[in-house]
Every structure is written in structure tokens, then in C-alpha cells.
Symmetry: C2
Subunit: 143 residues, 2 copies
């Protein structure tokens, strides 16, 4: 079974919470969704399969995802709340254009190690991170 799924079910067990059909379905859809989803999209997809699912259930389940540590909230330039599965080895570095709103994901090994070093300086044990660099993308600089 996938790691995040296991973590989630372990969390349910610890807290004496129940494994239900709805939670299974929401979890599966969440984990197979591309990069990040907002709650509304998630609800829409869940309802394609089980139309009787209530908003409250999805919200409650998403909160469990966050509490259990298998998901994290992401907000980019817009103010829409999105949720994404937390894969420890994934990076969350974005270039965000303040003019056109475009976002580019990137990776830099140098940056990653600088982060680990900075955290170590403070006795901090890093688990994940989010870096956003705001500025002007190539196109918007030309205009």
C-alpha cells in the first residue's frame, strides 16, 4: 500500500477514528489528483463517483489529511486554498510573476543544501519547505 495511505490509516487507528467508504474514496481521489487541488474540485470529483457525498464530509476529511501530516496547504499568488499530498522528497519551489500571475516550479540542488545548512544552524530539523520567489517572468520583463 502506498506510504501516505498507510500513514493516514495508522493515524485513524491511533485516534480511534473509523475507516469509512467516504474516507477511502476521498483519499484515493486526493492521492491520484495532479499536483494540487482545491477543496471544491475535490468535492466535484468525489461526487462524480458518489453523488450523495456531503460538503462537510469532504472538508472534515481534508482536515484529517492535514492533521495526519499526509497533506499540506498551498497558497500561491491567488488566495485560493489548495491542498496537496505531502511527498517528503518533493520540492515546492516556485517562481511567481507578480504581473501575469504565472508560476513556474523549479529545482536547485544548491538551494536545497543551503536550506538544510540554514536549518541546522538553528538546531531545526527540516521536513519540508516552500519557497516562492516573486518577481517578473521573462515575458513580462520584455513588455
Amino acid at each position: 500500500m502506498a506510504l501516505l495511505k498507510k500513514i493516514f490509516y495508522d493515524y485513524l487507528g491511533e485516534k480511534r477514528l473509523k475507516k469509512t467508504q467516504q474516507r477511502d474514496l476521498i483519499l484515493d481521489i486526493f492521492l491520484t489528483a495532479e499536483h494540487h487541488v482545491n477543496v471544491d474540485d475535490l468535492i466535484r470529483r468525489v461526487r462524480e463517483i458518489d453523488p450523495s457525498t456531503g460538503y462537510a464530509t469532504v472538508y472534515r476529511t481534508v482536515n484529517l489529511f492535514l492533521e495526519s501530516g499526509i497533506a499540506q496547504e498551498v497558497r500561491l499568488s491567488d488566495s485560493v486554498r489548495r491542498i496537496e499530498p505531502f511527498y517528503a522528497d518533493e520540492h515546492h519551489d516556485h517562481l511567481i510573476c507578480i504581473r501575469c500571475g504565472s508560476t513556474t516550479e523549479f529545482f536547485s540542488g544548491q538551494l536545497e543544501s543551503a536550506q538544510v545548512a540554514a536549518a541546522a544552524d538553528h538546531g531545526f530539523r527540516p521536513l519540508r519547505h516552500s519557497l516562492r520567489i516573486y518577481g517578473l517572468c521573462r515575458k513580462c520583463q520584455e513588455q
Copy 2:
């Protein structure tokens, strides 16, 4: 006059918007507030001086701050929206403990230059950034 104030008034001029008593007051309070404020605090402080100020006015003005580029939205571990003046030379690097919620601001020259390099690789012109490293603080690791 302070730089951000000038930028804001220039923005108003460009857009044919007006300089009003309320906007002046809200701007002054915003710029002298410590690090970051949420909109509610801002309203409270504005009303200490001018109790007749409406919520809508403060919200509308805060949105102008964001549009004009003199302010940016910040969200840390909680989901409260905060607004802070954008000082270009300020850094926004935080270590956020996922257990106790404590946040520590830090600075790393190595990190700053790695960011500039990464942006340059994408033809991106960086203006400001926000880095959050989530993990366990020293105290919470010991527990």
C-alpha cells in the same frame, strides 16, 4: 517622504484615484505597525483614531496596498491572512515548527545567492521571496 508612501501615492495618481483622509490614516497606521498585521487588527487601530471608519474602507484600502505593490500577503502556519509592508531589502525566511507552531526568522547569505542564481536560470527577475521550512524546532525534537 517614505518610499512606500510615495509609491502608493504615485499609484493613486496613475490610476486617477484619490488621496483621502481615510487612506492617509490607514496607510500611516499600516506602515508603522510592527512586522505583520491582520486586517482586523488594522481596523481596530484605525478606529482608535477615527471610530467612524468602515470595514469596507479598510478592506478596499488594503487591496489597493496589494495592487500597488507596497504590501504583500503573508500566511504562516495558521490560516490567518496577514499583510505586511514590502521592504525590498527585508528577508522572509522562516523556520516553522509543525508541532508547537513557533516560528523563527533567519537569514542566510548562501541561501539568498542560491535564490538569485536559480531565478536567473529561468530568466526570472526576483523582487522578493518567502521561504518557509517546516519541521521540528530544537525543543520539540527533545520531547
